[in-house]
Symmetry: C2
Subunit: 191 residues, 2 copies
Amino acid sequence: MAWPDTVAPVALDRAYRLINHGPTVIVSAGEGVEANAMAVAWCCALDFAPPKLTVVLDKATRTRELVEAHGTFAVSVPTVAQAALVRGIGTDSAHRVPDKLQRHGVRWVDAPEAGPPRVAGCVAWLDCRVLPQPALQAAHDLFLAEVTAAWADTRVFRDGRWRFETADDELRTLHHVAGGQFYAIGSPLKT
Amino acid sequence: MAWPDTVAPVALDRAYRLINHGPTVIVSAGEGVEANAMAVAWCCALDFAPPKLTVVLDKATRTRELVEAHGTFAVSVPTVAQAALVRGIGTDSAHRVPDKLQRHGVRWVDAPEAGPPRVAGCVAWLDCRVLPQPALQAAHDLFLAEVTAAWADTRVFRDGRWRFETADDELRTLHHVAGGQFYAIGSPLKT
């Protein structure tokens, strides 16, 4: 088992940079055949080192049940090339569409590291461990988590920076507005 | 007093769409000469209706003291045209640079509505009321808030959707990676 050749680990104190620009992400959890994944726009960095993040997971979702049961999940950062996949797993619930992952083409990364299931074809991944906040989870669907490992595709993230402008536009991150309206991330600002 | 002609209110149940695509924002609070503002990348929607959001405010900042003292703040969504302003108020603290707002060209919206100070020249504004979470604020610098009013510039946000592609590129939102590296939001995906 191995990550694709283009993928490299990201130092933990730089992991926040993988989501700092506000991409829509995929949250996945569970093991084996019960593993599931959903699209999530409401995921945000919370701390630098150790890196932490927040994520909002609706009570109606199967993925949330798996996050609560396992205490771990992955955040995968999808691309323009995966827009149909993201729309599909953001719309269908495994409760109503048991084969939603197959239907929308979700495959797992074939990585040597143990951990939560990570979505293949993305450009960044953050393994997360839930920092239990039962009251927040119940009242606001808000989960706090510590990032325990991170990787990125070096075609678009190298030396701690995104490099979208030097890669295929299909590898740009997705930014959801509402109802399936997405923007791709755009041009870097001159410094 | 009046908003610019191009600004219109946004229905509360659509307010989340103003930040759903992950822009870097400006958080401002306080009254009169003590009002202050800071750039914030870690701001995220939390609920649809009533709309809520989360924001991470470091303990070292003057703006956080004002948010805690007043219980209200504004989230303003800045543009490419304001990149220097955003960099400036994201770097300087009013504790060390008392004239930081003047130095970086921050002006307040001249609006008829009472409320927190809102930054002029931005393309969206969300008035917020803190939902006190003393333990979260102390341990994680994490604030929960309800959005009580919202406005947007109709040149780029109309009928509940962003319309960056039909306006000047200078009105695109900013997305911070780290250390002053920003991307502008890019192209809409075909549906």
